[in-house]
């Protein structure tokens, strides 16, 4: 029973509460860094690290944090981990990757997903469950970043992970600029909405048949 619950804490972040497509949180970095799959993966990894660590620390110290000043406390914990991840990335990742992520690494500190999980999950639950929750949502976000960035990279520069997709394809560079990002995300959100609507319509029909 307990194992099943743990599994659920982990997987709910990928589908049921997918941060980008269901909750529509963390939009700014999702659009800015998804020009190539590599950038998307690096951003997702950094945010997942911060999410897991801050969830863990906050759920450990949750009984010492007074309700009134919880938000400043969360911000300080998150900012500490963001500083850590920024220094780590500068030390171990190629400089051009860091340059293309730019200010969006320090901006993880104001990423709504991390604040939202700190407030609505880690502040109320045990450390182990909070770590699983953070890992699940982080993974869900990383996967959705990969989806958006692979569409944009294929359409915008004709490559995937830097490899050419097709010789004859003429890339439409508007897709890796700002307008492409908005339109791709808009259409993807529309697609997921359409699937949800179709599913609920089907279940409505099934209920009506049973009656």
């Amino acid at each position: 029973m307990a194992e099943q619950n743990n599994l659920k804490e982990f997987t709910k972040g990928i589908f049921q509460y997918n941060p980008l497509f269901v909750l529509v949180l963390g939009i700014c970095p999702s659009l800015a860094v998804t020009t190539s799959v590599k950038n998307g993966l690096a951003m997702g990894g950094a945010a997942t690290f911060v999410l897991v660590c801050s969830n863990f620390i906050i759920s450990i110290v949750r009984s010492f944090i007074p309700r009134e000043i919880r938000i400043p406390c969360f911000i300080v914990v998150i900012a500490a981990f963001v500083t850590m991840v920024e220094l780590l990335m500068r030390a171990y990742l190629p400089p051009e990757l860091n340059a293309s992520l730019g200010i969006f690494i320090p901006l993880i500190v104001v990423n709504c997903i991390i604040m939202y999980r700190a407030e609505s999950f880690a502040y109320k639950n045990k450390p182990f469950a909070s770590v699983l929750d953070g890992a699940g949502l982080g993974l869900g976000w990383t996967l959705s970043l990969c989806l958006v960035s692979s569409i944009r990279e294929i359409a915008g520069s004709g490559t995937l992970f830097g490899l050419k997709v097709s010789e004859s394809y003429q890339p439409a560079s508007v897709m890796i600029m700002a307008p492409g990002a908005f339109i791709v995300l808009g259409l993807l959100l529309g697609f997921f909405n359409w699937r949800k609507l179709r599913k609920s319509e089907k279940s409505m029909k099934a209920v009506m048949k049973n009656d």
């Binding site: 700014c28 911000i75 900012a79 730019g102 901006l107 500190v109 104001v110 307008p179 808009g186 909405n193």
Partner: protein, 212 residues
């Protein structure tokens, strides 16, 4: 001097618009752009916070974080003169400055314009976590291609706020019309807002290359 300031303002309002070209501050942009009146109010609040926070973070950056003789903390702890605090304290000090300012704006608005305070709702305290505010602070100081002066940094913060307000105003005008149109059910709400933003960004792309 005036020419330089005008160039900075044109650059951040049109060419490098924070919302449409740099993807900063999208949450309040989508959340509060339903009505024109609240879009103006939110834009004004963000502009105020951005201008002040640009000024204060510039002072913090130059006199507390950067290594060198101007560092105030180095006068007490001489070892800091060499290294500065820029690597470790950048994010935390900026976010604390912004959080304090937002609290100040919230108290002022609640006292002086209660109607606006009500209509902004949850988005007012959320200016703290608006990436545009922290973004302009970072772009003015650590991530700026060249060292900006105090006046330039403040003007850039003000201009970024105005650019945010312009984008919100345009968007709220579009969304007020969209409310009356028959849209396919799966695109209603956020998806169509994104697609409209994309088209606006396409239009703003026309300004690119005007100012370096």
């Amino acid at each position: 001097m005036i020419k330089e300031i005008a160039l900075i303002i044109v650059s951040v309002v049109f060419v490098n618009n924070f919302v449409l070209a740099k993807f900063l501050g999208l949450c309040p942009f989508l959340g509060v752009s339903q009505k024109t009146s609240s879009a103006i109010g939110m834009g004004a609040a963000v502009t105020f916070v951005m201008t002040l926070s640009s000024a204060i973070t510039w002072i913090v950056y130059n006199f507390v974080l950067l290594p060198g003789d101007a560092n105030i903390i180095a006068k007490i702890f001489p070892s800091i003169r060499e290294l500065g605090l820029i690597e470790v304290l950048k994010t935390i000090s900026y976010i604390l400055v912004i959080a304090t300012l937002v609290q100040l704006v919230e108290m002022m608005l609640r006292k002086m314009v209660p109607a606006l305070y009500e209509s902004l709702g949850i988005y007012l305290p959320l200016i703290t976590t608006n990436c545009a505010v922290l973004g302009v602070a970072l772009l003015n100081t650590t991530d700026s291609p060249k060292h900006l002066g105090f006046l330039q940094a403040t003007v850039q913060g003000f201009g970024a706020g105005i650019g945010f307000m312009v984008a919100m105003l345009l968007m709220s005008g579009i969304r007020e019309r969209l409310a009356l149109v028959n849209i396919p059910p799966s695109l209603r709400g956020v998806p169509i807002a994104f697609i409209c933003t994309g088209l606006m960004a396409l239009a703003f792309l026309g300004f690119s290359g005007m100012v370096q």
